[in-house]
């Protein structure tokens, strides 16, 4: 406990020099602007900034990425409140009450609430990040090939089930991602798979150009293909947060923070599910559920606390298991690997300081969004009014040069283009991107550990199903799939009713 505090103090001090603080400020501001602009998502922002921070020292580069990630998820609430367009998918729930408040001339108050919620959410998530990462890391040390295989499959299945609105398409996207990860040299024998004697393909697809394409170029195409209207912004009141709102809704803040963090820990689910789940839980527990959707302060607070709490939550499995909790966290994980940090079960053994460095980064990011969220309300309004037709070509230039800069080879530009077109088409037909990305990230883990497990057991499948953690993960995977069938749901409900007769009587 005290060791952790000492490491955290050391991390805080290591970032406390003027130049680093200036970088924190810049990164938070860039993140907020990226989040606030509809069409630029947190994943795209973190992916593009990864390419821009390659030459920085690793800790500073990751500080920039964490600050921009937190900033983007917070910044998305600005356009949700003012334009009724979520800046990122995570802020869709904030549109319901945020925009309703803005229509009532309370846009300033809504901005204050979203800032308070985001700050509190990040702080709650940060607390759990510091608390749970070492614990989860300890548990992960007991993982063997069987457990890692199920963990990879669990991530793809859960992510496919919970993101988007069609689990079948989510799983298809996830499986395609897993297959794409298998292209190139296989991780055990270095045999070239599906490379068709192409030297570039033999090396496989690099993650960052693929993600820049799937999230950046696909988004450029999506935005440019649809005609956008000039935004209309409502009148403003004071945007300073009220202590009374925090005191009055402390239960909502705490509940949403915990929900957000735990949804973040679940692989590949992410901030949008965290936001909607926190919103739904707050509505169920509310004394004024009829106000939800009509300008409920509590609803907006819940949504914004939940999505920002999810950010540190999504980083917990990255650090402890090398399994990302969300799409932006997947990019962050790739950036960590590029910068020589190896996340996973051994991180608490080999590099415990880094875990607390990330906690400290979260704290600086929280301060950044608090300061800029309140100080730059008017300039951010101007940013929101810049036409998307001007921004997107510039974003595409960054996609091209960002993909190229990592290894300075044109194949990565083609990778970005290819994944962009595929990503656009998949999204157009309701295939979610999060499981696709998670599949690409987890493909190597699944591939290696399935084959290692089979070698260890000499082809016997039993250990995959009887070891406690394996059995639990396998049961969750199976239950997640089966619960999508109406027949199974009905049977489950019938058993539940039969086993709880007192509910029927009540």
């Amino acid at each position: 406990m005290f060791d952790g505090l000492a490491l955290f103090g050391k991390s805080l001090a290591s970032f406390a020099d003027p130049l680093t603080l200036l970088i924190v400020a810049g990164a938070c501001l860039i993140g907020i602007v990226i989040g606030a602009l509809p069409g630029l998502t947190a994943t795209m922002g973190v992916a593009l900034l990864t390419t821009l921070t390659l030459k920085m020292p690793s800790n500073v580069a990751l500080l920039v990425l964490v600050c921009s990630y937190v900033g983007a998820i917070y910044g998305g609430s600005r356009s949700a409140i003012l334009l009724n367009i979520p800046g990122t998918p995570a802020n869709a729930a904030a549109c319901l009450d945020g925009y309703a408040l803005a229509q009532q001339g309370l846009a300033g108050r809504a901005i204050g609430i979203s800032t308070t919620g985001s700050v509190m959410g990040t702080l709650i998530g940060m607390f759990f990040l510091a608390l749970f990462t070492p614990v989860l890391g300890e548990v992960a040390l007991k993982f063997g090939a069987y457990e890692f295989f199920w963990l990879a499959l669990f991530g793809v299945i859960i992510s496919g089930n919970l993101t988007g609105n069609d689990p079948l398409k989510g799983w298809l996207a996830g499986f395609v991602g897993l297959f794409i990860a298998s292209i190139g040299q296989d991780p055990i024998h270095a045999y070239e798979r599906f490379s068709f004697n192409n030297r570039d393909l033999a090396g496989g697809f690099q993650l960052i150009p693929a993600l820049v394409g799937a999230f950046g170029f696909a988004e450029v195409l999506t935005v440019l293909a649809a005609k956008t209207q000039k935004p209309v912004i409502h009148r403003f009141d004071s945007h300073l947060p009220r202590i009374g709102d925090v005191v009055k809704y402390w239960r909502t803040i705490l509940r949403s923070g915990i929900i957000g963090t735990f949804i973040g820990i679940v692989p590949g689910v992410g901030e949008d599910v965290a936001s909607w789940s926190s919103y739904a839980a707050a509505r169920r527990a509310s004394k004024e559920p009829e106000k939800y959707g009509k300008g409920s302060v509590e609803g907006l607070m819940a949504a914004e606390t939940g999505d920002n709490a999810c950010v540190p939550g999504a980083i917990i499995p990255v650090l402890a298991l090398a399994v990302p909790g969300s799409a932006p966290a997947a990019v962050l994980m790739a950036a960590m690997i590029i910068h020589g940090v190896q996340p996973g079960p051994l991180i608490m053994v080999n590099n415990p300081q880094f875990v607390y460095d990330v906690v400290a980064m979260m704290l600086y990011a929280t301060l950044g969004i608090l300061v800029f969220g309140l100080a730059l309300v008017k300039p951010l309004l101007k940013v929101l009014q810049v036409p998307r037709e001007i921004i997107m070509p510039i974003v595409f230039v960054l996609c091209v040069i960002g993909s190229y800069a990592i290894s300075q080879r044109l194949f990565d530009v083609w990778t970005m283009l290819g994944f962009g077109v595929v990503g656009y088409v998949l999204r157009r037909y309701n295939y979610p991107m999060a499981p696709f990305v998670l599949g690409i990230v987890l493909g190597d883990l699944l591939d290696k550990n399935l084959r290692r497990g089979l070698v260890l057991s000499d082809g016997d499948l039993t250990p995959f199903f009887v070891r406690p953690i394996s059995a639990t993960l396998a049961a969750i995977c199976l239950a997640t799939i089966l619960m999508n069938f109406a027949v199974v749901r009905r049977a489950f409900h019938a058993v539940y009713v039969a086993l709880t007769p007192w509910r029927k009587a009540a």
Binding site: L52, L172, Y191, L224, A225, A405, R428, Y429, L450, D458
Partner: protein, 172 residues
């Protein structure tokens, strides 16, 4: 992205594509070299996981096929965006591919254009193309050209300076 849900017909076409893709991946994995000459453990054969993934994709595709047929996929009309959306998409795609593939990649046009010039041209043409109709309707074409030119020069100079001079990237 505010898309309308795709029609069952689109899902039907996709499901057939997934079954074909799954079958192709399975075949590729199954027929892949098993490295028997190197005496490797047969459970570590490189094609094992792709073959299993191929089966998975084909099964999920088959479920999608059944579902789309049940939802009147054989009779429902195919869907697509409005003609205006489709033409904007075509212009965006063409500009991006010509810039990234042609000018930067030098593979379509076969001649060398400096990165900064290619970037400036791309940004200028893209902004002008997508703002053309609105600017013309408002009688602001001159202003539109000036804005596009300023953005083009600023982006080309900024990106070239940052990547070439600060990050020491040898630009394409």
């Amino acid at each position: 992205m505010a898309d309308s849900p795709p029609s069952p017909r689109a899902d039907l076409v996709w499901s057939l594509a997934w079954i074909a893709i799954g079958a192709a991946i399975f075949t590729g994995g199954f027929t892949m070299e098993r490295l028997e000459r190197q005496n490797i453990n047969p459970y570590t054969a490189p094609g094992l996981v792709p073959a299993l993934l191929g089966i998975g994709i084909a099964i999920l595709g088959a479920i999608l096929l059944v579902r789309s047929v049940r939802r009147t996929g054989l009779t429902a009309a195919a869907e697509g965006g409005t003609p205006a959306d489709r033409s904007r998409l075509a212009v965006a795609l063409a500009l991006c591919i010509v810039y990234a593939g042609g000018l930067v990649g030098r593979t379509l046009l076969g001649f060398h254009v400096s990165f900064w010039l290619a970037t400036a041209l791309f940004v200028f043409v893209s902004i002008l193309a997508f703002e053309w109709r609105d600017r013309r309707a408002r009688g602001e074409l001159g202003r539109g050209v000036a804005v596009a030119a300023a953005c083009a020069i600023g982006t080309a100079a900024g990106v070239t300076a940052v990547f070439q001079e600060v990050f020491l990237v040898r630009l394409p």
